[in-house]
């Protein structure tokens, strides 16, 4: 590569970001990685124990369950939330009445306090006064203690998050606007139905953004914490526990070494899942090129 004559200016422009990024990402990350190799309660001196914390975590049933739950979260984000968001985006892309208003409103939950939303969903799931059981009873379906049964608790918390599709819907919607109209006109003449058009034209054309949104949704799934913390604290019987919650509880118990080992595993697994998913999804690229 030829040496850029602006190199001094470039470096100058990178000084502020270097300052902030090193102070608030690199240094803390090094701190987390370093202390993950120690036994440390945050107050007395650190004691180096090598991979002891990792060994302990990887033989702890609750932690392994949390990893499994995080993977379920990630998959639900990538393969339930994104398809739902895509479905709504494709409907809106056909500009039905009021599409602009709908698009704006779908995004709204992203700006409301998580505490309020969690409280509302707890009320919805409550087996005695809850909306969900009352609704199901109308159809003669028996209700559940949604957040209190090991079988239903995890799906219930995930549903609460996965249904908020606004953020990804807006991104996917935006991608559809780049597809030339002429493609659809030609398909129309060939007698393709709307569904066929979406399947054979739209989806292949927005493949790139679908991979990006799936990756993002899975990344959020891997580091998920808040809704679980607010709604179930990981219960009942650890059935909804996730890595972020384990990290939080370890900090709460003054086990900072273990907490940071948890954080490190979280970062590592998150990276692995994301790299894998991108590899997997982009493998078919040659095929989609031939469609174009």
């Amino acid at each position: 590569m030829k040496k850029n004559k602006n190199i001094k200016m470039i470096l100058l422009f990178l000084v502020p970001v270097a300052f902030l990024y090193i102070s608030f990402f690199i240094y803390p990350l090094a701190f987390v990685l370093g202390t993950s190799l120690t036994e440390w309660n945050g107050i007395s001196a650190m004691k180096f124990i090598g991979l002891g914390n990792y060994k302990k975590l990887l033989t702890d049933g609750t932690f392994l369950l949390s990893i499994k739950n995080n993977i379920i979260w990630a998959l639900s984000g990538g393969f339930i939330q994104i398809p739902l968001a895509t479905m709504v985006a494709l409907i809106l892309a056909r500009k039905p009445r009021g599409w602009k208003t709908l698009r704006t409103i779908y995004f709204l939950p992203n700006i409301i306090s998580a505490v309020a939303i969690a409280m509302m969903w707890k009320a919805i799931y409550n087996p005695m006064y809850g909306f969900l059981n009352a609704f199901l009873n109308l159809f003669g379906i028996e209700g559940h203690n949604w957040l209190g049964e090991t079988a239903t608790a995890l799906p219930a918390v995930i549903a609460q998050t996965v249904l908020y599709i606004g953020y990804f819907m807006v991104i996917i919607f935006a991608a559809t606007t780049t597809i030339p109209k002429s493609f659809y006109e030609a398909a129309e003449i060939d007698g393709c139905t709307t569904l066929q058009q979406e399947w054979y034209i739209t989806l292949p054309m927005i493949r790139g953004i679908l991979v990006t949104t799936i990756t993002l949704a899975m990344a959020y799934g891997m580091r998920h914490f808040e809704a679980t913390f607010l709604m179930t604290s990981g219960g009942p019987a650890h059935s909804t526990s996730v890595m972020g919650l384990v990290l939080y509880n370890k900090m709460d118990a003054f086990r900072l070494g273990e907490a940071n080992a948890t954080g490190t595993i979280l970062i590592l697994l998150g990276t692995v899942v994301i790299v894998l998913i991108r590899k997997l999804l982009s493998r078919g690229d040659a095929g989609s090129d031939s469609v174009q």
């Binding site: 850029n4 990178l14 990024y21 990402f25 240094y27 709504v88 909306f131 991104i171 935006a174």
Partner: protein, 274 residues
Amino acid sequence: MKALLNTLKWIILIFFLFVALYPLIWLLLASFKTNNLELQQNPFGFPEKWMFVNYYTAIVKAKLPALFIHSIIVAFSAVFVNLLVASMTSFVISREEFKGKNVLLTVLAAGILLPIISFMVPYFTIIQKMRLYDSLLALILVYSAINIPISVFLLTSFMDSIPRELEEAATIDGASFVQRFTKIIVPLSQTGLATAGTFCFIYSWNEFIMALLLTSSESSRTLQLGIRFFTSQFVTNYTAMYAAIVITIVPSIIVYFIFHNKIISGLTAGAVKG
């Protein structure tokens, strides 16, 4: 078949409209209820009595007006610092060629993955060392830094979509490096800046744990801490807290409605790149 699809389409749209709007409506109704007991027994209906006094309590007892000003200062300054730093970075990454720029972009964007919650002790130490503990400036720095990965990610893809011809013409006319940034790229990136800025604003406005950790006195307290005024060790006054939450989300909604067209087209620009 077509009629069926049409019906299905509207069922889907209305279902998600309901999902998106209902939390707001619920929160608003909840904020007028008498007490926690009513909230539990009548979680979805209208309040038995409309308790406007909850709003009075929220504003006066929790001293929300003063905290409001702090939050505005913090959120706007964090957005300003974040956009300044992120746009300079993105400009260099998007418009210049230099060794290691892809690595730089990857490293910066990877920050999106990090669990910020495990950074509490290092953040506290750093802010102490900078002698910024208990100041609004501490929050401004932390919030603008935390949002750098997402802002750089959005802004680089946005700037990549700006045609190069304009800059080339300007360079021939004698525009300097800095002028290309201030006179051409920044004005043309308004949409991208609005998007990144909105994400940063929403984050800074809603952030709680770092605000709690890094400030202590009332002179540097933000709204999110004020909302917690109604929780105590054993009992939480949810109705007053919800009134406070309603008050605090109004600015977010206003900012969102002012900028939503820009945000959405900003996301579009990002989407084109994929």
